[in-house]
């Protein structure tokens, strides 16, 4: 994939914002909650508090948030191994998420799933996924169910640039087209699959071409630009709801942390992480824009920051205090009835 394919949705990213102040504040709150959640995990993981594999979404918040603002609980998303941001933006309780990551009964999955398997069907969150590409057929299934049951729900499939080469994902692009499913495929292109570059691993000039190869409309946006994502996703989701079928949205974005916690990131360019943190922080960019436009003041965002910090503190505290699962829990929940 060529590094020059940066075509950004042209319109709609300028002031006046297409969102009410309340919505903007809520977007800010969501992004900030993800960031705070992730930064806290980063610290606590390094301290040895957290077991297992943890993949952080920090830096990519604008994408999850911009997309999920269009969705209700009836809409379903199928997420990835890097799923915390999707969960939070889709409305999963951060307390339940933190409990899950700590392996406690208070967790969203009662401690049985862990970071890579957080789900909350009641919120339309079909699960993070440890298997790359596996969510795409599941999202197609959600879209199929919406269609057959006659409601206006959509399915959203998230994949990374790496997972976009997985057969399950590619098959799903075609299936969605053939069955005319209300599903949107979101490629979260953060430039890397583990240590491997997207420029090498995706043999295609752009995701728009790849989408077209399956008869789907495709759009590439700057995934660090909340407004660009919000607009492009809104259009696709509206079209899908109205029976216009599937489409593909590439969000070009950046990963603040390593692939997983513990990654030394020697495959990245020197200074790359500092540079993106300083110059391409989607939350900072959002805050600057809304404050420069005079819509939301620094005082207001500071208040949200404080509120979010308290929320995450309490999530961590509760998670640490919560009981571990019971011996008996080992054998339950395999079947509804066996």
């Amino acid at each position: 994939m060529s590094a020059t394919a940066t075509a950004v949705s042209a319109q709609g990213s300028d002031s006046p914002f297409p969102l009410e102040k309340d919505d903007l504040l809520s977007a800010y709150r969501t992004m900030k909650t993800i960031r705070e959640f992730e930064d806290r995990l980063h610290v606590d993981f390094a301290r040895g508090d957290i077991p297992g594999f943890v993949h952080l979404y920090a830096g990519e918040e604008a994408a999850a948030t911009g997309i999920m603002m269009h969705l209700t609980d009836e809409d379903r998303i199928a997420s990835t191994h890097r799923g915390h941001g999707h969960c939070i933006a889709k409305g999963v309780s951060v307390h339940e998420m933190m409990g899950e990551i700590y392996g406690k009964v208070s967790g969203a999955c009662r401690g049985k799933g862990g970071s890579m398997h957080i789900a909350d069907l009641s919120k339309g969150m079909m699960g993070a996924n440890g298997i790359l590409g596996a969510g795409a057929p599941l999202a197609c299934g959600a879209a199929l169910a919406a269609k057959k049951l006659g409601h206006k729900g959509v399915g959203i499939s998230f994949v990374g640039d790496g997972a976009s080469n997985q057969g399950m994902f590619l098959e799903s692009l075609n299936l969605a087209g053939v069955w005319e499913l209300p599903v949107i495929f979101v490629v979260e292109n953060n430039g890397y699959a583990e240590s491997t570059s997207v420029d090498w691993a995706v043999a295609s000039d752009s995701y728009v071409d790849r989408a077209n190869g399956f008869g789907l409309p495709g759009v590439t946006v700057d995934g660090t630009d909340f407004f660009a994502v919000h607009e492009a996703a809104g259009e696709m989701i509206r079209r899908a709801r109205d029976g216009g079928g599937p489409s593909l949205l590439e969000c070009k974005m950046i990963r603040f942390h390593g692939h997983f916690e513990g990654d030394a990131q020697t495959y990245r360019a020197e200074g790359e992480v500092e540079d993106i943190r300083n110059n391409r922080d989607c939350i900072k960019m959002f805050a600057d824009r809304v404050s420069e436009a005079g819509v939301i003041s620094r005082v207001e965002t500071d208040a949200v920051d404080a509120e979010v910090a308290t929320l995450i503190d309490s999530a961590v505290e509760q998670a640490k205090a919560a009981p571990l699962p019971d011996t008996a829990d080992l054998l339950t929940d395999v079947y509804v009835k066996y």
Binding site: R76, H117, P137, A142, A145, K148, Y335
Partner: protein
């Protein structure tokens, strides 16, 4: 009203009745309608062997042809099952599991556990299994042990039309993912089947023939060969009890153990390959749970540790025969 129908017709009838009964049941697979987009007749095929023929006329687009993308549509069936549908997806031959197993074993099978019991995935995956059709190495496997190994799946493999109808209805009404394996060599096999709908519970083996001398436990095509062996042996005064396991997960170990407590002798017959098979699973359970009742070594009669050969001359040797089963019974009687 009961009449004789084939196993193929039993599948069709169960699907039809369940679709009538529950509007959330949908059926999908390659060419299960047949002719989608093609210039000729709709409902042209009704599946590669005609099993779903006629259902499209009755239920319309609740039956869906699919592109040749098993991961995508089997995964979609599984996803849809968590969203209010009750899909029945056909994987034409179980041999194709290798192209879509992740969706089955890492997704559908694990959702409930991974998500802490907060989800139900009522999906049925139907597939043809078994040898004897001259369909060669990639279209003739049983693969029952692979699915049985996986926690979270239920595995069904009926041997006759009556069980097929009742177990398929149960599979569709069941709230867990079910792998429903139809032995293609039994499709034409007929038995008495009630017209009205009924279900057969999982985990209940059928004792097809009572006997005091030895127990044969099996399922699928080899049920008939075991009964044949039992009939032959009866002439020599050897009185064999034949158990059709019917469902492999859950499995009805109690019925097998009860029988072995009576007969003291066990032969496990399995058309699957021998290693880590259903035969070895049943043997091991009995060797642990009913060891004291055993009067002789447990015998296993399985396919060999080879792929399924094409040549009819070899394929006929590959599948456990009535003679081979009878020999194994004689061996355990002699011990």
């Amino acid at each position: 009203m009961t009449r004789k129908i084939s196993m193929k017709e039993a599948v069709n009838e169960a699907l039809d009745q369940e679709m009538q009964r529950d509007p959330t049941v949908v059926v999908m697979g390659e060419d299960i309608v047949g002719g989608t987009g093609s210039p000729g007749e709709d409902d042209a095929w009704g599946g590669v062997l005609g099993v779903t023929k006629g259902l499209y006329a009755k239920h319309g687009d609740r039956l869906m042809d699919t592109p040749l993308s098993e991961s995508a549509y089997i995964g979609a069936a599984i996803g849809a099952a968590t969203c209010g549908l009750r899909p029945v997806a056909e994987l034409m031959f179980v041999d194709f599991m290798g192209v879509c197993l992740d969706e089955i074993f890492n997704q559908g099978a694990k959702f409930r556990y991974m998500f802490g019991g907060k989800v139900e995935t009522p999906v049925v995956i139907r597939a043809m299994c078994g040898a004897g059709f001259r369909a060669a190495a990639q279209h003739s496997q049983m693969l029952t042990p692979v699915f049985t190994h996986i926690p979270g799946l239920k595995v069904v493999c009926p041997s006759n039309a009556y069980d097929t109808k009742g177990l398929l209805a149960q599979s569709i009404r069941d709230n867990d993912p079910v792998i429903f394996l139809e032995h293609k060599n039994l499709y034409a096999h007929e038995s008495d089947v009630p017209e009205e709908s009924y279900t057969i519970p999982f985990g209940e083996a059928a004792v097809l023939r009572e006997g005091k001398s030895a127990t044969v436990a099996t399922y699928g095509q080899t049920v008939h060969r075991s009964v044949e062996a039992a009939e032959t042996l009866a002439k020599d005064g050897v009185d064999v009890e034949v158990i059709d396991l019917r469902t492999l997960s859950p499995i009805d170990n109690d019925t097998v153990i009860e029988s072995v407590e009576k007969t003291g002798r066990l032969v496990c017959v399995d058309e699957a390959n021998p290693r880590c098979s259903i035969a070895s699973d049943v043997s091991a359970t009995v060797a642990q749970e009913a060891f004291g009742a055993l009067k002789a070594p447990i015998q296993m009669v399985t396919a060999p540790h080879t792929p399924v050969p094409f040549s009819p001359a070899l394929e006929d040797l590959y599948i456990p025969t009535a003679d081979g089963i009878a020999d194994a019974v004689r061996k355990t009687m002699a011990a």
